[in-house]
């Protein structure tokens, strides 16, 4: 049984998990124009952009021979929770005989979730499953740790492109680990490579830090967000995202009794703007903006798929929130109409504004 999965962020970790369990996995290619075209052609016209991209990447995986799709479910009330069902329907109506395994929230439907986990476990022992999960978790932690370092260093690299080239190299190295010991050795090696990237010294008061918040798919998947982290790095900005895979796992998979999660803290911060959880990541988005302000970030870029239900609520609140929090926020809606030049201009202007504001503040202080 050839397994595939939706493409989001550092997919080598998902592949690793399935590989460790001895499955034959097919990683869909990183979303590109062809993926978008396929997705747009076969998805509902007004569906949200992530659904279309994922449709496209499933189709590409199926072309390569994938027979089973493993994806996470959701409990609403945003459309993302229904992706699995709709994708199944689309693929079947196109005549592809693929099986879509949707791992739902265990609280919603315990029996089906256990059944699905058993299917992924296959003939492996429970011990092996746990071992694979643990190793994958450590791998994801390591990946996120390196990525954050890259996101910081890219702002100050001496020769352009160094950092993101290194990031590709690191992913290549971490792709080939099979045991805990190999992972540790690889981590040391990667750290050394990162430390070797030459950077210029920038005084603390001139550093610019930008947070990226919004809907998880467009925040995490660089191919649909115009590689925004790279763009910001080239403008000399340090970047942090509101979503990292390891945090998502901490918040959604780890049992609650292991301690108060960071998510709760963030939600608390967002409460002033959106009182209850309204689905998707709307409340988190507001919470993260407050959090970035508290951490002293200089600006926030809010990414959302066009027509995203929960993020539209955020966007409505944004003008007032910006005023109250005194932090600039730029909202960018993304979809298959990739107006890259237009968006790049907006980002550049936004960064210029932040730089000017900062310079003024410094000169006034001096």
């Amino acid at each position: 049984m050839k397994i595939t999965f939706p493409y989001m962020g550092t997919t080598l970790a998902y592949k690793k998990f399935l590989d460790l369990l001895g499955h034959e996995t097919i990683s869909p290619p990183k979303p590109n124009q062809r993926t978008f075209d396929l997705g747009v052609k076969y998805s509902p016209e007004f569906a949200c952009f992530p659904l279309k991209v994922i449709t496209g990447s499933y189709l590409e995986a199926v072309e390569q021979g994938a027979e089973v799709i493993v994806t996470s479910g959701g409990h609403g009330p945003c459309r993302a929770g229904f992706y699995g069902e709709l994708h199944r329907k689309i693929l079947h109506s196109m005549g592809y005989d693929v099986d879509v395994i949707v791992i739902d929230s265990i609280r919603r439907d315990f029996k089906t979730v256990m059944q699905n986990i058993r299917r992924i476990k296959g003939k492996n022992s429970w011990r092996k499953l746990l071992w694979a999960a643990r190793l994958t978790y450590r791998l994801i932690k390591a990946l996120d740790d390196f990525e954050m370092q890259i996101q910081t260093k890219a702002a100050y690299e001496v020769s352009k492109g160094d950092c993101w080239r290194t990031w590709d190299k690191i992913q290549g190295i971490l792709e080939n680990i099979w045991t805990d010991r190999e992972l540790e050795a690889a981590q040391k090696r990667c750290q050394k490579i990162i430390d070797q990237i030459p950077i210029r010294e920038v005084p603390e008061e001139e550093k610019i830090r930008i947070g990226i918040v919004g809907e998880i798919y467009v925040v995490m998947e660089s191919s649909v967000n115009m590689q925004i982290e790279k763009v910001l790095g080239d403008f000399g900005c340090e970047v942090r995202r509101s979503h990292y895979l390891s945090q998502w796992l901490d918040d959604n998979v780890m049992p609650k009794f292991l301690g108060k999660s960071r998510e709760e803290e963030i939600l608390k911060k967002g409460e002033k703007y959106i009182q209850i959880q309204i689905g998707g990541h709307a409340k988190e988005t507001m919470g993260h903006i407050v959090d970035y302000r508290d951490q002293g970030f200089d600006g926030v870029i809010h990414l959302m798929p066009f027509g995203c239900l929960p993020e539209l609520v955020c966007q409505s609140i944004m003008p007032k929130a910006m005023e109250e929090l005194n932090i600039p926020v730029l909202t960018i809606a993304l979809d298959e109409q990739t107006g890259i030049a237009n968006n790049l201009t907006r980002i550049e202007a936004f960064i210029d504004l932040i730089k000017n504001k900062k310079r003024k503040r410094i000169s006034r202080a001096g």
Binding site: P44, Y273, I274, A282, S316
Partner: protein
């Protein structure tokens, strides 16, 4: 003290309830006037451009009431069925209004509805009323009970097969309810009209599609006329139901219409960029071929183009009527205007 009730969104489903509730509590209410160009423009001014038209309409109504009322009813609709919700925009509606309409922040009255059925009369949703409006808990309980009774009466009228616009004319202006056309005439065209109450019954948004269909002699069935049990039975085949109760009702009604031989065709009225509808519309469209029933989508937004709506509705009804006539053998040859062909996605 005056409480303003915006004539938008779930006003069309719950107004008799709210009206009675405030009446018994002895609180004066004011309802905004029907959606007009001015209200629409206000709504557009204060909301994000890409949000759906019903939310813009609601924003406009709040803005129209802001000067006239001391409080404005902006309910936070969370759920009316276990494990199901409303669209995120309903759940975040008070938050959105608070930060978009100038002057609304202090005037919002937002009961938080987390019910397990359509009935929203549990006093625990309305605890805010006790603090803000200064009514006693006992009064509130009594008023809610009466409101519930009134609302059930209103729902009964719907289930008898009356469209909401007729019911409101009956309740508010004491006009007589029109007789319900029985299905005796073999050439009577019956159309299942799918769409949320706030799109279909807002005459500005839907360009009064109800009246247009009635003038064409069409019998209309909408989801609120059907029994809940019946609706949910017809989507039992789905492995995972949608998260939105009203969308489930529309979908259920859609499949009910597909399975019901007395319904000749379906018209789906949806707002541009409506998230839930982007899924249910596609599902019904994909299945329309299988059930051999024509399905048409009418997408509405703040731009009005009444001419095109009339043309499409007329053409759709004509097509169905001709098909009916032909099937009964009243038309013995096919002329130049073929009624055949794939009409999905018209």
């Amino acid at each position: 003290m005056k409480v303003g009730i915006p004539k938008a969104l779930l006003y069309y489903y719950y107004y008799p309830f709210w009206k009675k509730l405030f009446e018994v509590l002895g609180i004066e209410t004011i309802v905004s006037s029907s959606t007009s160009k001015e209200i629409m423009d206000k709504g557009i001014e204060f909301s994000v451009p890409e949000i759906c038209v019903p939310i813009k309409v609601f924003t406009g109504h709040v803005a129209a009431l802001i000067e006239k009322a001391d409080y404005i009813l902006v309910p936070r609709m969370v759920s009316i069925l276990k494990d199901e919700y409303f669209c995120p925009k309903f759940m975040g509606l008070p938050d959105m209004i608070r930060y978009t309409v100038p002057g609304a922040a202090e005037k919002i009255l937002s009961p938080s509805i987390r019910s397990e059925s359509d009935s929203i009369s549990d006093p625990k949703h309305y605890s805010e009323f006790v603090d803000v409006l200064g009514v006693s808990a006992k009064e509130l309980r009594r008023a809610l009970k009466e409101a519930e009774k009134e609302w059930q009466r209103f729902r009964m009228l719907s289930k008898q097969g009356h469209v909401l616009s007729d019911i409101y004319r009956f309740l508010e202006e004491k006009e007589e309810l029109p007789e319900i056309t029985k299905e005796e005439d073999p050439f009577q065209v019956t159309i299942g009209l799918l769409g949320y109450v706030y799109n279909i019954y807002d005459e500005f948004v839907s360009m009064n599609i109800i009246k247009k269909l009635k003038e064409l002699g069409v019998r209309i069935i909408t989801f609120e006329m059907l029994d809940e049990g019946e609706i949910f039975r017809s989507i039992r085949f789905m492995r995972k139901r949608l998260f939105w109760t009203f969308s489930n009702k529309l979908l259920g009604a859609g499949y009910f219409f597909y399975n019901n031989p007395s319904v000749d065709g379906l018209i789906h009225v949806t707002a541009f960029n409506c998230g839930p509808d982007s899924l249910i519309g596609k599902m019904l469209e994909l299945d329309s071929g299988q059930y051999e029933k024509p399905f048409m989508t009418i997408r509405v937004d703040e731009h009005t183009g009444e001419g095109h709506l009339l043309t499409r509705v007329e053409a759709f009804v004509d097509m169905i009527r001709r098909k009916k006539i032909k099937m009964r053998g009243a038309l013995n040859h096919e002329n130049n205007f073929s009624i055949y062909g794939n009409n999905a996605g018209l």
